[in-house]
């Protein structure tokens, strides 16, 4: 049981850490594939814009 709980905690920590790393490295698609002139001001709460 301890190994199982430790595994869940480890997975959660690594996932949270990678979310921080990816969010600092990657851009949302509405930013990555367009210039400033073509960007949507507020893409809203969706899968391609900021959450």
């Amino acid at each position: 049981m301890k190994a199982f709980v430790a595994a869940l905690v480890f997975a959660a920590i690594v996932a949270a850490g990678m979310s921080i790393v990816l969010n600092s490295v990657q851009q949302s698609s509405y930013e990555a594939f367009a210039t400033g002139g073509a960007r949507v001001g507020d893409p809203g709460h969706n899968l391609v814009g900021p959450s």
Partner: protein, 334 residues
């Protein structure tokens, strides 16, 4: 005299003509130029039908292609073919397991419990197993949502709930892929020594592995069935990880076609992976008495170990004897 001179001129002319013929290089096949070699073929034209492409002023010129024929082929695979492959693989495996359980039932511990236990998997190995397993379950559910969520789940829970669930599932799918990949790599390293196929595996397979019938063929720490699962995890895990990271970092290493291929590989391997893991979960839980304890507490009953891994038990007992002999051996006085 005149006829002699004519003969001389004729001879010189003949030689000159002969030299000219020899000196001129014969036109080779390689040097022939096909003026239509680079022209557009009829098949290429047909493949480009209905392509919608224009010019864009933004840096990403790929966005100028609005519709491409290869994209329609990929969409057909994703929306139709993949659902058939996944449905048949996963539902087929579930059906086989249900039929097998109803006909064979749980593989019982025939010699009963001895009351003595032996360490099967130490804490670190169970930790790595559960990291990989927990991540795999979330990745499988969130991945299946991408393929089957829209036709199956959306009509049940509506657009709002499906959108919210899919967004969180997508986050979980991306971020948990990293601990999953770490788990696959560590599993490869810690269990590779015990998972190299050998002659014992051939005998184990010939005798049905103790699953079919009530035979108990000998096996070392991992039997042939467990070795098969190990290599499915290593090869399948590597395939989904590599193809998944290609999709996670679009256009870093490949273009649109490469990403379509990555998605095809990722999705097919993933649904087959899920089907295989259903069988693994079955035999590790309700399929075999005492099997879950190996990954639950880490210890198994000695009789269970003797029935399913008799050669491994002999190895462990020999190690224990050697250790106790070393501990009790008298030390020479100095």
């Amino acid at each position: 005299m005149a006829s002699f001179a004519r003969l001389i001129r004729l001879t010189i002319g003949a030689w000159a003509f002969l030299l000219l013929v020899i000196a001129l290089p014969a036109p080779s096949v390689a040097q022939q130029v096909n003026p239509t070699a680079s022209s557009v073929k009829e098949q290429q034209l047909l493949q480009e039908l209905n392509r919608i492409q224009g010019r864009v002023s933004i840096p990403d010129q790929r966005s100028g292609v609005l519709v491409q024929p290869a994209g329609r082929d990929w969409r057909e695979f994703r929306n139709v073919t993949l659902r058939w492959i996944g449905g048949i693989a996963i539902l087929g495996m579930l059906a086989v397991l249900v039929i097998f359980y109803l006909s064979r039932g749980m593989v019982r511990l025939e010699s009963g419990r001895s009351g003595r236990s032996i360490v099967r998997f130490p804490a670190f190995e169970r930790f790595v197993h559960w990291v990989t397993a927990a991540c795999f379950i979330v990745l499988a559910i969130s991945g299946l949502n991408i393929t089957f969520g829209r036709p199956l789940l959306l009509p049940l829970i509506g657009f709002e709930a499906f959108s919210e669930w899919s967004q969180w599932a997508k986050y979980a799918h991306i971020y948990l892929s990293f601990p999953f990949t770490i788990g696959v790599v560590v599993i490869f390293l810690i269990w590779i020594a015990g998972n190299i196929p050998n002659r014992v595996d051939v005998d184990w397979l010939k005798r049905g592995g103790g699953i079919v019938g009530h035979d108990h063929p000998p096996a070392y720490r991992f039997n042939a069935g467990q070795k098969a699962i190990y290599w499915i995890v290593i090869i399948g895990g590597t395939a989904v990880a590599v193809s998944g990271y290609l999709l996670m970092f679009p256009f870093y290493l490949s273009g649109i076609e490469g990403m379509q291929w990555a998605q095809i590989v990722h999705s097919i391997v993933a649904v087959l992976f899920v089907a295989a893991m259903l069988a693994h979960i079955y035999i590790g839980t309700i399929g075999m008495e005492g099997a879950f304890e190996a990954m639950g507490s880490g210890t198994v009953d000695v009789n269970w170990a003797k029935e399913h891994h008799s050669l491994w038990v002999e190895e462990e007992q020999a190690k224990a004897r050697a250790a106790s002999d070393g501990a009790t051996r008298p030390v020479a006085a100095e």
